[in-house]
Symmetry: D2
Subunit: 345 residues, 4 copies
């Protein structure tokens, strides 16, 4: 068993990580940290985790290094860049779910996040934690930078069309819809039940920080600069994310062609379903899982490819993808702890 600490364990992503590590056959959860909930039992904060016999402790670098071989960081950006260097120095494998090590270009990071990067020397070592794009690099890595929920869904939807050259690179449009848990556990006006219920609304239009991350990954896939327009929307559900991606055809292509292309690209992926022609993904069908369900269609009249990907924003978009990356980094079975079927409703 490999000892694991979760830093920032009391948020939604941290709680999902807790659940997954506890149920994992080869991981052993030795520490959960939380600044706000230090001293409280996990099952007190989350009665759904009755049976998890741990209490939150205040985060402390020395203690983490002592009890864990791997640390998941479910902390805000800037917090991660302070934790990562000492944890790596202490020999831990770090799976970071913050934004701090996702962007390879430090200037891009500093422009979009508005803060200096204090651990830029580690950017070259960090591997981007999207196994469907970067599996080989993740295997054995000491620092994995897990993608945001929006980039995961967007990149998985666009990838086969972009890397095959079927789609042009100059105008990729991502219209994404997220459940409210994506906004975190802290109450706020926009996530008040009465505000969010019965409401669909866009936010941070054209300025969301996940934009450069999507562009970076698609550029990597295309081998040429890809421009991305990204519009996130909040929809009235707890979990789930759907990215609807619009791409310009490089040459005429049919829906059947696209389904074949996608099915082939993802044929060996353990967590991806490519739907047949005319069937499209629903967020409800991936809730609670590490799966991505993908549908694709051609609008031949307009010359547009429409690729749709549904994930669970807290699952493949956060916690379970981090476990998938940890499995790879630790050279375990990639699906360990992630292959139980999930409730159908």
């Amino acid at each position: 068993m490999i000892d694991v600490a979760i830093v920032g364990a009391a948020g939604y992503t941290g709680a999902e990580l807790t659940r997954l590590v506890v149920g994992h056959p080869q991981l052993s959860l030795t520490m959960v940290t939380s600044v706000a909930d230090a001293g409280t039992k996990v099952s007190e904060v989350y009665p759904a985790l009755a049976g998890v016999d741990l209490a939150y402790v205040a985060p402390d670098l020395a203690s983490i290094a002592e009890v864990a071989q791997l640390a998941f960081l479910a902390v805000p950006h800037t917090a991660a860049m302070e934790l990562v260097p000492p944890l790596m120095k202490a020999g831990l494998t770090v799976v970071d779910l913050s934004a701090d090590f996702r962007l390879t270009d430090v200037a891009t990071y500093e422009r979009w996040y508005g803060v200096p990067h204090t651990a830029a020397q580690l950017l070259a070592e960090a591997v981007y934690g999207l196994p469907e794009m970067a599996r080989a690099e993740i295997v054995g890595a000491q620092l994995v930078a897990c993608p945001g929920c929006y980039p995961t869904a967007s990149v998985l939807a666009a990838l086969p069309a972009i890397e095959s050259g079927v789609a042009a690179t100059d105008r990729v449009i991502v219209d994404a819809k997220s459940g409210v848990s994506g906004a975190g556990r802290t109450p706020a006006a926009g996530t008040h039940f009465v505000s969010a219920n019965e409401a669909v609304s866009p936010y941070k239009v054209a300025i969301h920080r996940h934009t450069p991350e999507i562009a970076q990954q698609l550029t990597l896939a295309a081998g040429a600069p890809v421009t991305v327009t990204f519009t996130p929307h909040l929809v009235p559900m707890t979990r789930g994310m759907l990215a609807t991606v619009y791409l310009e055809m490089a040459a005429p292509v049919s829906s059947a062609d696209l389904v074949s292309l996608y099915a082939e690209r993802y044929a060996d992926e353990p967590f991806i379903t490519v739907h047949g022609e005319g069937r499209y993904p629903s967020t409800a069908e991936v809730r609670g899982s590490n799966r991505a369900h993908i549908g694709v269609a051609a609008d031949e009249n307009a010359g547009t490819i429409i690729a749709m990907c549904a994930i669970d924003n807290l699952g493949k978009g956060a916690a379970s993808q981090a476990v998938q990356c940890a499995n790879l980094a630790l050279r375990l079975d990639e699906t360990a702890g992630l292959d139980a079927p999930v409730p159908v409703v």
Copy 2:
């Protein structure tokens, strides 16, 4: 008082029309028809309409013509094309909410709807019931073809950018999100609570029948062919629709420019709010009203305009817009019966 009949009054749109006509200062509701609910009191089917002292009757052309000067048709396509000619011959003003008289080109209609048009001679007489585009034609018209809910939101979002030439015409992308009431009152697998709740999913991708209607209206506005890619999504809420429209800039333009353009275009519109820079519409804020709330932003890096319009799919997207059109057709005050403020939550 002008006597009004509602044909197909027991569906959601018919019930909203019932509510609006009953509350209208110059209209008097004399007949509500329903095949399925004939013989039942309105307040029995819809306890929310306690106080409406009418029962549904089976539809009958002679009786309608006898008791009404204006008829709202809230019936499926093909049913309307049978009713419209005799009702017009009997001298009634007809406000048709079906698809039968929206498309000016009969071949387009027959291709998308898969049926022959049996009243094509009246297409030239029909005016498209979007007051913000065609107010002058609607005034005094005998036959108004009210837009579908998707075209209403999509066209209102794109119109200022398209007709001003600020946007290019060759690749308009509409990503629309609808509440479940848009699917009507008949229970079905996809609208079962358990299926629709906690789910966002696209449907009829690139083949939805509202596509040619959106293209027709934008082409009219541009004075040049506009190609539209349209993806509808179902989201877990009862009412509301958001269209997020992506347009290519014809020349560089800023968010501030766009807000000015939109604010000016809609300055005199009684039912439209154009939000300031950085504020975006929420379906919750138009629920139950005839309003359209619009936000617009420039993604200057990608050369993309993002225009968003929120309406109530049963309001401005159906029943209340039909009343707005009736007001114009009857030369009443355009806002009569439509100006009461609506609940804030």
Copy 3:
């Protein structure tokens, strides 16, 4: 037109009052106050109230008295008892939606609310604003204390059985279910979308402050002490309240008997529907209205009467009932501004 001020106008109840006063044929809204939103336009805070051309101002006794003949107080308890004496002295009619003047016994108030009552001398003047129980007293009153949402639904459900003697007085059980808007506009952990969605949960079991208010009114109706057990629950919807009340039969009675009794008791009530045998109320059917829908059944085997009442917690449970009371206090038509039918979904 009678000039009206709304004090505490930026909460949900205040916003509903704003909507109702603006749409009222004989009331004119001259002032809306808010501590937190002073200086902001109403339509800025609530885009649904586009068309309301007022800005919030900080509350100030002298100004209120200057511009209004009637004041609605949508403020927390303790705030009302400071405002009421000077406003009454200045000659205003006051419709108070707080708890400060609902309980006739000052000791009961002080025990349940934990604060001294500083305007106890006015308790004798205050009339309880439930027209179905106290219409005659409300007519012409200068101070109306509007019931809480839970007491409104609970008392309307129990009243005919209690005052007729059909039900025993010694063990009345109220199990009530409320939409989340009842918890107000301020974000909190329990009303965060993610917490409240997909959740039913009881709270303040046996200790909710509405308990003595329900008991007081049923005791008044029975002419003998009534003991009430009250359990409120939060359910995942924005608006609506259902009270399910269990009463012990004083003598055997059938469902048909009960329906007759209830129908007769409420025959002249403009806002109450008593459903026929076997039909029960749904909160969805009263949403946005001032109506109360009631169903009643006998469990003859157990000797239990089950009476159910659905209201809109912000409507008959708060804002629209306050307008109904204002109509009576001002000797206007009781239904003025409240009789427009509401959306069916």
Copy 4:
């Protein structure tokens, strides 16, 4: 590995059973039957079950007996009484989730279900599948009749108070709230999203068929006849059930006393949490699990005990409880396949 068939596997309960059997360390799923979906792959009907490599087959007694040692019956009442005798004769262990073998008194069954019982000779052999009440009998049983969802929550809430004599037996009131999945997978008017959303409504008041089942079990616990009034309500959520039970105190008792009593009674139960004083269960906290969370309070003034139990209607109320019973019947570890923690939101 023990071979298992699920009969009626395409409904929600059947699909949950599928998920649980597939993830169970000692059970092997060999057959899933469905009349309506015969011939279709499980993952086609339920994409969430991607990875389950089986297709539905039409139910056939001989085949079931051939491939399975244990059969779960997730079929309607009357269907089960035809299947049980031959399956038992063929030596299978049968875990029946229908109502056919829950009531020990055949006359009661025939009165409430309105049909003759054709396998009454097996009623004496059937054990009631509520482990917290009847663990010893379930161990090694060949026929287990699993409780309905309402009885599970209601009995667990009332049991400690009833069997200890702390509560009187003569007037037990159960007010229960269920998620919509309890109504099954077949679309209907009442479970249409638009009808069920934003709605709380009671149904089958005082006539629901789970009433005699609750009364039977509490009578057994009390050793004296218990009379039950039962009111089910539908609330707008997919999964979850809360039973709020009101009992008359036999003698004065405090909340602290009750919490102790309940905590002690359920101390060794692997799936029950008894909350401390002042904390109450939420359906959200048991979603997807086999857990029951219980809170209890005394209304000392009224002499009423309020006991609340939250379960997942498809989990402890159906599928996972059936697996718990199967574990006991097969003499496996009671928690096998049921102890993975569940998502916190």
